[in-house]
Amino acid sequence: MSIRVDRSDHALQQPQAPHAPNRARRTALLRLGALCGLALGGDVLAAVAASGKASGPELLRPEELALTGVLAQLIIPRTDTPGAQDVGAHLTIDHLLAACAPEPEQAAFRAGLARVDAAAQAQAGQRFGALPAARQVALLHALDLGAKPFTPADQRFFRQLKGYVAFAYYTSEAGATRELAYLPVPGGFKGRIKLTPSTRTWAI
């Protein structure tokens, strides 16, 4: 028996974010989204709505936010479910950095982003976001390994980034309920069940 939660079980899910974003913020978001090449979905608007702040990024500069989005989508791409940028992970990350990260963590993240762009400039004369996909992937492989042009310190940044992207993605509605198995009220504890090929990891 598959343990994947059926879409019809979404009745068990929680309601959307309590506040709907106002018109001005929606417009600004859609413009920002167009800049980043996004198709904005409910999770993105919910992320901004929940942030309760004025439109635009809270900590990151627009180009840092855009780079975070590109990196997020490379780390968790769109497959048969949305990718990280699709669900607004970069906006969530920006908010979490602003609201929940101590200053050194904020600084380390931004320094890491700068290193990625600097490496792209040095290698191909362009920002990371403007590189062709194959070059982006090659640079990220190097970053993942802490190999040239990157260092072990850069690899630590990539771990920080992966952690943030995964957190933002898998705590989003799509990430939790469509990509993984989501069971908010299990009803009881079953200690032993057998995996099938369709078994997914629990979102919570």
């Binding site: 929940c100 705590t171 299990p186 504890f189 995996l195 997914r200």
Partner: protein, 579 residues
């Protein structure tokens, strides 16, 4: 049945039969026992009301609906919860149940941190406790007498056993009957299941390390709601493991779910909230406590409440702080303190020492639901053997689980394959972490700060605790033994943990006990075997302050049993006209 709000009071000239200070684990139990035995009782709580279900604002909130996805705002946490945020259970869903450190400061000596974790609302920490519920045995009650650390408990297991049963039958404790002398069986609801890895580890562990045994943790969660719990309006545990947020099913024990409904049913309970007890009122002519002086938490107005008996159930340090602040000519160093030991012999369990490792295999095994308890290994040290380096002992808590997306940061790769990998359950891990008995020492103590006050004008508590030699040696053994066990069980990448006192200060186990200890001799203790003050016979202290030693078991079940027993005695004494 009375309408909902009419049992809350502010000022009243009424003289109650009993005043209970505090509304948490023990305050709720005192309110229930006293009212059920016919006493008109006032429960005095310093914090705000919290209504069962309605006020559980962090419950039933999916992460994407939370402003910070479950994380706490950094500025708010640093400014208002710098101590509470150290607690594992403090997050965006539970934040409102924790004491505001900015408003309720305390002091510690330089270089000797103590993390005082508190609630500040009706229900106290019964809303956020970990629910692990274990009986003590005579190995624990006799420890002080046998090894000379601390003074002898004035009671033994036989005195408390019927009260453990009384409490368990009401609250509902899930567990398995094991017949272990070190950990007496209780009145149990069905145990929660092991998962496949734990089952396999248990078989290996039990075979090799007998008479030590791995069992399922005993927890005050309703694996099945018995008749008694259904009568309290409670329902079966849904295995969400979100207890700290408050549970509208009432599936774990709290004041709100369990003892408050019982007390309210009698019609004899009144509750005063936002009422900070400044001191107990003492009448030297009759040698009796006659009530409490209160500062209103919101308006700073003062008032008094009067009663025939007074029970302090304000949590270990809360109750002792009240006694220290209740000075008079007869008791210049604190009420009922002719012995001079008030504030001394503070203990907290030894924590943050253990090991974890990766389990190979079991790829086809998984579990469903989030179990509100784990695997548990009762104390085996200094039970049959005699360890060369330390006396007393510890338990292990832990268990096995499969990696999820939370470990993504450490996984190599990115992209489609990375995502596909995270879609599947990851490798199994298993861990064991110790909880150890801390020895009672006179110099581990609390006192009222000579100058510092809080916003209500109450003197701040000064808390001074250090680990001793026995404590350090025991913690080392916890970590070493955990690692050895995991190696024997075949785990890979076994990692030992032993945090320093700076990294993990005393207090963070949240099992602080002592400072108004029970004892046989009024010259060396505050309370007798019924939690009754030697010096002032209508004054009782039934929470952790009363403990003469810490043992190794989670203390709350014992708090409840002591409270129920003390209340029965108090009512008998009152009805007999002896107090």
């Amino acid at each position: 049945m009375e309408p909902v709000k009419s049992f809350y009071i502010k000022s009243t000239p009424e003289r109650f039969d009993a005043i209970v200070v505090g509304s948490g684990i023990t305050g709720g139990w005192a309110a229930k026992e006293l009212t059920e035995r016919g006493l008109k009782t006032l429960m005095v709580e310093r914090g705000r009301p919290v209504e069962h279900g309605v006020d559980y604002i962090g419950e039933n909130r999916a992460e994407w609906t939370m402003p910070n996805r479950g994380k706490v705002d950094e500025k708010v946490a640093e400014e208002q919860y710098p101590i509470q945020r150290q607690c594992y259970a403090f997050d965006e869903h539970t934040q409102q149940f924790w004491n505001n450190d900015r408003d309720m400061p305390y002091s510690t000596p330089d270089g000797r941190p103590f993390s005082w974790i508190r609630g500040n609302q009706l229900g106290g920490k019964s809303l956020m406790w970990a629910r692990q519920s274990y009986r003590w045995s005579d190995l624990d009650f006799e420890a002080n007498l046998k090894d000379g650390h601390g003074t002898d408990w004035p009671i033994r297991y036989a005195d408390l056993a019927p009260w453990y049963s009384h409490v368990e039958r009401h609250i509902g404790v899930s567990g398995s009957k094991e017949g272990l002398a070190v950990l007496p069986d209780g009145e149990f609801l069905p145990p929660f299941e092991f998962n496949a890895v734990e089952q396999a580890m248990k078989a290996k562990f039990d075979a090799k390390y007998a008479p030590a045994r791995m069992i399922i943790g005993r927890t005050a969660n309703l694996s099945r709601a018995g008749e008694a719990q259904l009568a309290q309006g409670r329902a079966q545990c849904q295995a969400r493991s979100e207890c700290h947020r408050g549970c509208s099913f009432g599936a774990y024990f709290s004041t709100q779910s369990s003892t408050l409904p019982a007390a309210l049913k009698t019609g004899r309970l009144r509750i005063a909230t936002h009422s900070i007890v400044h001191s107990v009122i003492y009448d030297p002519k009759t040698n009796r406590a006659t009530g409490v002086r209160v500062i209103d938490a919101e308006t700073l107005e003062t008032r008094e409440y009067h009663a025939k008996i007074v029970l302090l159930c304000a949590s270990t340090l809360g109750s002792t702080a009240v006694l220290l602040n209740s000075t008079s000519e007869a008791f210049p160093t604190g009420l009922a303190n002719s012995s001079g030991v008030l504030g001394h012999y503070l203990m907290d369990h030894l924590w943050s020492a253990g090991a974890s490792g990766r389990v190979e295999g079991f790829e086809d095994d998984y579990y469903q639901g989030r179990r509100p308890t784990g695997a548990y290994v009762p104390r085996f040290r200094n039970v049959v053997d005699k360890h060369p380096d330390f006396v007393r002992g510890y338990a292990f808590g832990g268990g096995a689980s499969r990696e999820g997306w939370q470990s993504a940061a450490w996984k190599p790769g990115f992209g489609k394959d990375f995502k596909a990998m995270l879609r599947k359950p990851g490798p199994w891990h298993f861990n064991l972490y110790g909880q150890g008995e801390m020895l009672p020492r006179f110099d581990n103590m609390v006192s009222l700060h000579p100058t510092k006050k809080d916003k209500w004008g109450m003197p701040q508590l000064h808390i001074d605790v250090t680990h001793g030699d026995n404590d350090r040696k025991m913690r080392e053994d916890m970590a070493d033994t955990a690692a050895n066990i995991l190696e024997y069980l075949g785990m890979k990448d076994v990692r030992k943990t032993m945090a320093t006192d700076q990294e993990y200060p005393p207090g963070l186990a949240i099992h602080e006990v002592g400072t108004a200890r029970m004892g046989r001799d009024p010259k060396t203790s505050i309370l007798n075997g019924f939690n009754q003050a030697h010096d002032v016979p209508n004054l009782f202290v039934t929470d952790g302050a009363s403990m003469a030693s810490s043992a190794w078991q989670n203390p709350s079940l014992t708090f409840m049993a002591l409270t129920a027993r003390a209340c029965a005695h108090a009512v008998d004494e009152l009805k007999a006209g002896r107090i």
